[in-house]
Amino acid sequence: MTEPAGTALKRTPLHGAHVRLGARMIGFGGWDMPVQYAGIVEEHKTVRAAVGLFDVSHMGEFEFRGPAATQALQRLTTNDVRALAIGQVQYSLLCDEAGGIVDDLTLYRLGDETYLMTVNAANIEPDWTWVTGHLEGQVEATNVSEATGLIAVQGPHAERLVGRLADVDVTALGYYRFARGRVAGAAAIVSRTGYTGEDGFELYLRAEETERVWEALLAEGKPEGVAPIGLGARDTLRLEMKYALYGNDIDRTTNPLEAGLGWVVKPGKGEFVGRGAIEAVRAAGAPRRLVGFEMVDRAVARHGYPIRHDDAAVGVVTSGSYGPSVERYIGIGYVPVALAAVGTGIAVDVRGRGQRARVVRTPFQPSHVKK
């Protein structure tokens, strides 16, 4: 059956490469993406033990420039842009007037008044509408998503691999820092960031050069055991780190304080969209918290399953699965603040039956990001 025009899934510059590698493809946020190649568990373990490549070109990128760019971003995002140095990256949020999370993002300071903002793939259109609708002053925003490819290289051997192909000294690049140079001859922003909890890099490239760099990394990384990694393992890796996934753990109905993201909210910096609402939550105390838990009874907790305590429904699982590195059934979910302490017993409703679980310390897996 032919798809009617306008409903076809979008493709990244690496689509052909995925098909050639035998990837199982799925639709994700409007994009035709690889969910797995060799298998989710194997790919997950490869990232923690060696090095893996992720196509994250579907994510969105917006550039901001102009004499008032810093000021505009200061009013639009929750984190303090004045604390961001040139060559540095910061994790931040776009919030609405009610304090709900519009998206989570990373912000790069390329120059005094030049920035790159990276947003989630499924939110590119609504984020662009939001940003352009809220920009004030002398600042120009450009949506460069389609012109930009993005490859994540993650794992203990990532530094060795990228180091051989980059013309910048990646050994000197600190966590949440970036450098501009060339990787396999292609102009790149080499960013020491990632979504796995392992050391690694995200390489921002021109869309038309992305496939060449991907193939170069795959070829050059053979001694390290490099492998392509799909969205399935991307999800289990970030779950083990309790990194929030927009749409699962955070969305417009959640505020940063209950989501454990108060650390990227800086009310002292001045006014920003959502500040008043967030401070009201802070003053009253957020009634619920996003916690990590592990199953005590053998069962898999999944997004949407109710969380119960003393026979009452008190919360909800926002993400859950099997963690291949921690070898346990784990999850993340919202519980009332009174039940948020580590060690608290809760239950997850799995197909109508309460399965015991316990709130635990997170991340579930130790972090190995560059210190």
Partner: protein, 131 residues
Amino acid sequence: MSQIPADLRYTKEHEWAKVEGGRARVGITHYAQDQLGDVVFVELPTVGAAVRQMQTFGVVESVKAVSDLFAPLSGEVAEVNGDLVGHPEKVNQDPYGAGWLIVVKLADAREADALLTAQQYAQHLQSAGGH
């Protein structure tokens, strides 16, 4: 090893049954485990539980999906594969061997006539777009 062993019977829901005397060993097919991806959890009935042909008797879960298991034949659960608790990946690695799910003491062996032969199951996969 054949991906659709000739000596087994099959359901359209991708379970297999090996009928021996008054009992049948049950599992899911190679196609099913491949579609599921890495199996991380299997929920099975206890010994003594009743199962009914084409009704659900448990669940097999992969990293990303939850899938019902449909009983190929009716009867009473005589054995349950306890290995799958610690090693659910056996369903992927050896779906017709070590990845077996349950053994059923059959209520009526003639129910097997309603199941697909290996050839019919292969045709079912073809028309369903499987390969």
